[in-house]
């Protein structure tokens, strides 16, 4: 859908829905929200709902960043310690790389 053509209350509603949906372990939805509403939140001439949209966008961006950092940290910790953790780590592995010659 064409976001920029939607009426302002609708934009706010969508932005809010996307933001709340992101709490269901959905950082990707937050990231979408940021990209989607960024224009409206920061580039457009002010309109009544803008401040709220801006807030949701910023929160979504913060949430996305937190998730990215946490995920990268977890992956690094897990992959560096996988052998050390033994069988537990193997059970947690979706894909164990094969050795290559």
């Amino acid at each position: 859908m064409d976001f920029s053509k939607a009426p302002n209350p609708r934009k706010l509603q969508l932005c809010r829905t996307y933001f709340y949906a992101g709490f269901a372990l959905l950082p990707f939805v937050w990231a979408i929200n940021v990209c989607w509403c960024f224009e409206e939140a920061f580039r457009k001439p002010p309109f009544p709902e803008q401040s709220q949209i801006k807030r949701f966008v910023i929160y979504s961006a913060v949430g996305t960043l937190l998730w990215i950092v946490a995920l990268i940290a977890w992956i690094i910790i897990f992959q560096t310690n996988r052998t050390a953790w033994g069988a537990t780590a193997d059970y947690m592995s979706f894909m164990i790389p094969l050795g290559s010659a």
């Binding site: 859908m1 064409d2 976001f3 053509k5 939607a6 009426p7 609708r10 969508l14 949906a21 269901a24 372990l25 959905l26 950082p27 990707f28 939805v29 979408i32 990209c35 989607w36 995920l71 977890w74 992956i75 897990f78 992959q79 996988r82 780590a89 947690m92 592995s93 979706f94 894909m95 164990i96 790389p97 094969l98 290559s100």
Partner: protein
């Protein structure tokens, strides 16, 4: 299946509550006659009026504004008459011009889909070997005898096609009875399967092919995010690019499933059978797809937008938004009354401000019919679901086929786009007119996802033999076939199947290239001879 191409000047046709028209495209084509008709009976066809208004728009600046209904009608006729010849011509030209743009807008996603499939086939060996089979293909072509293989393929494709036919008919019955909930649920289910289960398999094979380590929490988080975002953007609302991306991905996934699970000869036979079925379903008077299109037209709805890739916004924001206005309108619209609320038109026009925006035809549609938005969404979901089901191999699978058929319909409303632009220009003036809104509504080209799927199956299958020249030849042939289909669309102005020409070209070039051209080119390139 039915790949239709509708060149609908949806706006006009759509605008008409009468909705007797076939696809918008057909209507569009009919315009010239319409104008005359309009003059003849103004009151009867609002839509016509709108069309006329649209046509007239260029000259309109004053007129549109001045045009009250009656004036409009007359204006429509008059516009057609006075500005008539130039506008008509320009319209046609613009139609073609935008047609060229829209052709490219279709080329890009079709190419992306094929590229995704070809890249996957070449990097993940999992998808190029068949060891498990679909329920629908009981004959596994294990015999070395070509004749036995041939009969196996024929029987398999017959079974598959009958499933497809049955599912298509079921879909149409459901649609006719307005069981939108069932269709919608079905589509959601199938898209759910595609987006979760088959994406999961894909992820696994992808990671295995590239030997990338991953742990379950990360993988599950990724799947959950990917799937939910996909469901949201496909069935609910999301950025257009994201939705298009998901549709392309789903189509590619479905094509990979076909390539993986269909025995080799059966895959080719199915491709041929599907394009023939497409031809029948769309062009025969009682063809299911044709019925579908006509019914949708009657109801002023979009045909299973879910099954359709749209180069522009398919569904309207307005669904929720404009409902009030729409509701107001619908009452009006119920009668052929042209009186879509001016407000809606305006909204649409605004969206139209840029031609592309105008393309967000759905919004404009919403103006015309409020049902559209919802239906569109449903349609989208349908498409997805259908595909998903297809992935499932179950009944859903067959259902998907139906969906795909629906998806295949291409609607080219480029002409409308032209109109839309005009309307934009004159927006301020014409806003009151319904016509602009209508015109804007259905712009953009829509290609059924089914077409995406089967094009990709053809190219992917060709590339699975490891010869790049065959792949390129198929690719070029399919694109040219698509061009020709769109050209025919512009000439005939009725719903056309998108598969037959492309698939025929593709099959001819695939076999000719791998049998004749490939040895020749191999000889040449081994000796470094350039021609």
């Amino acid at each position: 299946m039915d790949g239709h191409v509708n060149a609908s000047s949806s706006s006009r046709s759509g605008a008409g509550a009468d909705g007797s028209g076939l696809s918008g495209a057909a209507e569009r084509l009919e315009r010239p006659p319409k104008r005359t008709q309009q003059r003849g009976n103004y009151g009867s066809n609002n839509q016509d009026q709108t069309d006329a208004a649209v046509l007239a728009v260029p000259s309109v600046a004053v007129r549109g504004s001045s045009a009250s209904r009656p004036s409009r009608l007359s204006g429509g006729g008059g516009g057609g008459g006075g500005a008539g010849p130039p506008p008509n011509e320009t319209e046609e030209d613009q139609g073609l011009k935008y047609g060229a743009q829209h052709v490219i807008k279709l080329f890009v996603p079709v190419s992306l889909c094929m590229l995704l499939v070809v890249a996957t086939i070449n990097s993940i060996s999992f998808y190029s070997s068949t060891d498990v089979y679909l329920l629908y293909t009981p004959f596994h072509e294990l015999s070395p005898e070509p004749s036995v293989k041939f009969w196996n393929a024929l029987a398999n494709s017959l079974i598959l096609m009958s499933v497809v036919v049955v599912m298509t008919i079921l879909l149409i019955v459901l649609y006719k009875k307005r069981c939108y909930r069932i269709i919608h649920g079905w589509l959601i289910l199938s898209s759910f399967m595609l987006l979760f289960i088959f994406t999961y398999l894909y992820l696994e094979e992808l990671l295995r092919a590239y030997n990338v380590p991953m742990d379950y929490p990360t993988a599950l988080l990724f799947m959950w995010n990917f799937g939910v975002a996909g469901m949201m953007s496909i069935h609910w609302q999301g950025p257009l690019r994201l939705q298009q991306g998901y549709l392309i991905f789903v189509a590619a996934l479905m094509a990979l499933v076909f390539i993986k699970y269909l025995p080799e000869w059966t895959a080719w036979a199915v491709l041929a059978a599907i394009s023939i079925w497409d031809l029948i379903a769309v062009l025969t008077p009682r063809g299911p797809l044709r019925i579908l299109v006509e019914t949708a037209q009657e109801r002023n709805e979009q045909i299973f937008p879910a099954l359709i890739y749209s180069s522009t916004v398919i569904y309207t924001l307005m669904g929720t938004h404009y409902t009030p206005q729409q509701s107001a309108e619908p009452a009006v619209t119920s009668s052929p009354s042209s009186s879509n609320s001016t407000t809606t038109t305006r909204a649409t026009q605004n969206s139209l401000a840029s031609p592309e925006a105008a393309v967000a035809s759905s919004s404009s549609r919403s103006g015309n019919t409020r049902t559209h938005p919802h239906q569109n969404q449903r349609d989208d979901s349908n498409v997805m679901a259908a595909e998903a089901e297809a992935a499932g191999f179950t009944q859903e699978w067959s259902d998907n086929l139906n969906d795909r058929v629906a998806r295949r319909q291409i609607e080219v409303q480029s002409t409308q786009s032209g109109n839309a632009q005009r309307s934009n220009e004159y927006r301020t003036v014409t806003a009151p007119d319904q016509a602009p809104a209508d015109a804007q509504e259905e712009r953009g080209i829509k290609l059924g996802l089914g077409d995406f799927i089967f094009y990709s199956v053809l190219v992917g299958k060709a590339s699975s033999y490891g010869d790049w020249t065959t792949t390129i030849a198929c690719f070029v042939a399919i694109l040219i076939g698509l061009c020709l289909t769109l050209l025919l669309l512009a000439v005939w102005r009725k719903a056309l199947p998108a598969l037959p020409i492309s698939i025929t070209f593709g099959l001819i070039f695939c076999f000719a290239t791998s049998a004749v051209v490939k040895p020749f080119m191999e000889n040449l390139s081994a000796k470094q001879v350039f021609i």
